[in-house]
């Protein structure tokens, strides 16, 4: 799961990013509205965390621009403005959720996971695929009822495949969703991660579609 964080306060952005990475999210940071708008329009994200009072371009304007260009990624507004009028305006601009500073990181993570899950089309927090269960609320994977221990990169790949279970996920999209913008992407490493995942959950669960990408199947199809 990869999140775009648009926040001009450098210290706050770093704290949030660190906390989100701790919860296995990949995070790209944009320090102003202009960069934020550009990243949101050109890169693939599962969700965006958007401040309203941004330099260069206001957050609400960024959000409207995304929506106008057909970018439907779920957007959570995280701002110091706690007035209900601001909240209503934020949602009218196209926001999916709204949190005010200061925020509990648990609350932010929970809301972000719920947004990503809902935008993937799941109404319930638990997603099951054969013996594999993903609790999108807590972010915990279980295999046959036992918790799976995963690295951050493994978690990101598996979460991405689980949210799109039975559908082919392109390699390029996986690369986009797993690695942060400034990380050096080695296409081999994706295969390494998938290989490690197969060892943990069973080879038959992840199909390789040659030349395209991977597919998570319940195994008994």
């Amino acid at each position: 799961m990869k999140v775009l964080l648009v926040e001009d306060d450098r210290l706050f952005a770093q704290e949030i990013a660190q906390a989100l990475r701790h919860e296995n999210f990949a995070v790209d940071i944009a320090a102003n509205g202009e960069d934020g708008q550009h990243l949101g329009e050109t890169e693939a994200y599962d969700a965006a965390v958007l401040d309203l009072g941004l330099p260069k371009i206001n957050g609400a304007v960024v959000l409207r621009a995304w929506r106008k260009k057909g970018r439907h990624l779920p957007v959570l507004i995280l701002t110091a403005r706690d007035g209900w009028t601001d909240k209503v305006d934020g949602f009218k601009a196209g926001a999916d959720d709204y949190l005010t500073k200061p925020v509990r990181i648990e609350e932010l993570v929970m809301r972000l996971r719920a947004l990503v899950r809902r935008s993937a089309g799941y109404a319930e927090p638990r997603i099951t695929c054969g013996p594999l269960t993903f609790d999108a609320q807590t972010g915990v994977f279980e295999l046959n009822g036992l918790p799976l221990r995963l690295t951050a990169l493994e978690w990101r790949v598996l979460a991405c495949l689980t949210l799109r279970k039975n559908v082919v996920v392109e390699r390029s999209e996986l690369n986009d969703k797993v690695y942060e913008g400034d990380a050096a992407v080695d296409s081999n490493s994706l295969e390494v991660i998938v290989a490690r995942l197969r060892r943990k959950i069973g080879h038959e669960m992840i199909e390789t579609i040659r030349g395209r990408g991977y597919r998570l199947t319940s195994g008994d199809l």
């Binding site: 110091a80 709204y98 200061p102 990181i105």
Partner: protein
């Protein structure tokens, strides 16, 4: 101040009244003088005719004795002792009118030497001490000089003059009265725009209109534009002050948020305690931000807010925030119902109350509103959540207290909502709901219908 309560209309009336009185007195004096001259002229002409008549009838003997040939006592000189007399003084004898009845005219001293061409006037007492007006002329009878004196009673002038002056005085008094009435009317009509202006300013104060209409008489127009300028400046200052407070609050929140995250990431054992301190600071900031906004309200507010669109908006927002709860939100609110509150403050109250309802509801939230007695609007929000015990209610309305410190819930929103409602002259009441949860009743003053001035009329 001496003129603190000076009345404009009194000034205008007194000024006009004094001027009219002076003008009328001056007119009476001038007209009286002219009339007097005119009547006097008439009498003089009558007397001069008699002089000419007498002089044409005078004859003189060689020894200087003069006589009148014929009857010179035509009317009014035939009436005895009425002041109409004549006397001719010759060198040897004196001729008198019969009306003198043997008395003689005590001719006053000539005011100027008797003139050959024109008779000279004089005034003095007659034989019976009545006031007389004389005309005196020296004539030549044969080779002798004679003095003709004719007289008329002064009453012949005064009588008609008094009569004419009485009529004149009555006419002038009527004229004066009519003028004063006209002035009163004019002052009333002339000052009416001021009364209309007062009403317009009152409308601005009560919120019926946003600014004073510019359709005013030319003389008041500068005052009106100054007034409107003042209103705009006031609103701008208020807005700026509010923005500064908001900026301060928002400026504090980001570092506070950073602190909160940093604490929860690496705060160690003290995390919970420190985090509650951060939350307390945040609550204080919110509280004072709300107070600063609300403190700007004093007296009857000029704002009006239609409640139904805001309930739609806030309902949509909460539907998204609590998307997973799939709350059924039912609203029954008249579309034209408006409250006399600033839109942001109404959003704040409504948002806090509905947020609580959505947070605690199991699957149903209802809102309905109606106006009571044409003065207040009652907005009732009910949910089917756990509700509150009767003894918990005073507690949740007190600032800074939460029923459950660990769960975000009742506590912050309710006290600030109650404070805001009371600032607007409304109230907040909590009761058990028939749905099983809490029933919140927010009462706010009904907005008076706004006058359709400018661009600030209520949209439909």
């Amino acid at each position: 101040m001496k003129f603190k309560h000076a009345s404009l209309s009194r000034r205008l009336l007194v000024g006009a009244g004094v001027f009219i009185a002076l003008a009328l007195v001056a007119a009476a004096l001038v007209i009286g003088f002219v009339l007097h001259r005119f009547i006097q002229g008439q009498i003089d002409q009558r007397l001069d005719t008699q002089i000419v008549f007498l002089s044409s009838m005078l004859t003189a003997e060689d020894d200087g004795v003069i006589a009148v040939a014929g009857n010179a006592d035509g009317p009014p000189f035939d009436r005895a002792a009425r002041g109409w007399y004549w006397e001719v003084v010759g060198p040897r004898n004196v001729l008198r009118s019969r009306s003198l009845e043997d008395a003689s005219l005590d001719v006053p001293k000539f005011p100027r030497p008797p003139h050959e061409v024109r008779p000279a006037p004089a005034d003095g007492p007659g034989p019976r001490n009545e006031a007389l007006h004389f005309r005196i002329q020296q004539v030549t009878v044969g080779r002798n000089a004679a003095t003709i004196i004719v007289s008329a009673p002064r009453t012949a002038v005064r009588g008609p003059l008094r009569e004419a002056m009485t009529t004149l005085a009555i006419s002038l008094a009527v004229l004066g009265l009519a003028l004063v009435l006209a002035i009163v009317l004019q002052v009333r009509l002339g000052l009416r725009p001021l009364e209309r202006l007062r009403q317009a300013v009152a409308d601005v104060r009560t919120g019926r209109s946003e600014r004073v209409p510019a359709e005013q008489p030319l003389e008041i127009l500068p005052l009106v534009s100054e007034l409107n300028g003042l209103l705009e400046q006031n609103a701008a200052n208020l807005e700026r002050a509010r923005r500064h407070v908001a900026n301060l609050a928002h400026g504090l929140k980001t570092p506070l948020a950073t602190l909160a995250i940093a604490l929860s990431e690496r705060g160690g054992d003290a995390t919970a305690e420190l985090h509650s301190l951060v939350l307390l600071m945040e609550r204080r900031i919110r509280h004072h931000l709300g107070r600063a906004r609300a403190a700007a309200l004093s007296g009857p507010t000029r704002a009006q807010t239609l409640i139904a669109p805001h309930i739609d908006d806030v309902g949509n927002v909460l539907g998204k925030i609590y998307a997973d709860k799939r709350i059924a939100f039912a609203q029954n609110v008249p579309r034209d119902l408006a409250v006399a509150c600033e839109q942001q403050d109404f959003d704040e109250m409504l948002g806090n109350l509905l947020d609580n309802a959505f947070r605690w509801a199991r699957n149903k939230v209802e809102i309905h509103a109606h106006h009571e007695d044409g003065r207040m609007v009652s907005i009732v929000i009910e949910d089917d959540g756990p509700g509150l015990r009767q003894d918990q209610i005073p507690q949740v309305l007190r600032a800074g207290e939460r029923i459950d410190e660990s769960a975000p819930g009742f506590g912050f929103g309710l006290p600030i909502t109650r404070e805001l409602a009371e600032l607007y002259g409304g109230e907040l009441n909590l009761d058990p709901s028939v749905l099983g949860g809490l029933r919140v009743m927010l009462r706010l003053p009904l907005a008076v219908k706004r006058l359709l001035i400018g661009d600030n009329a209520i949209p439909d």
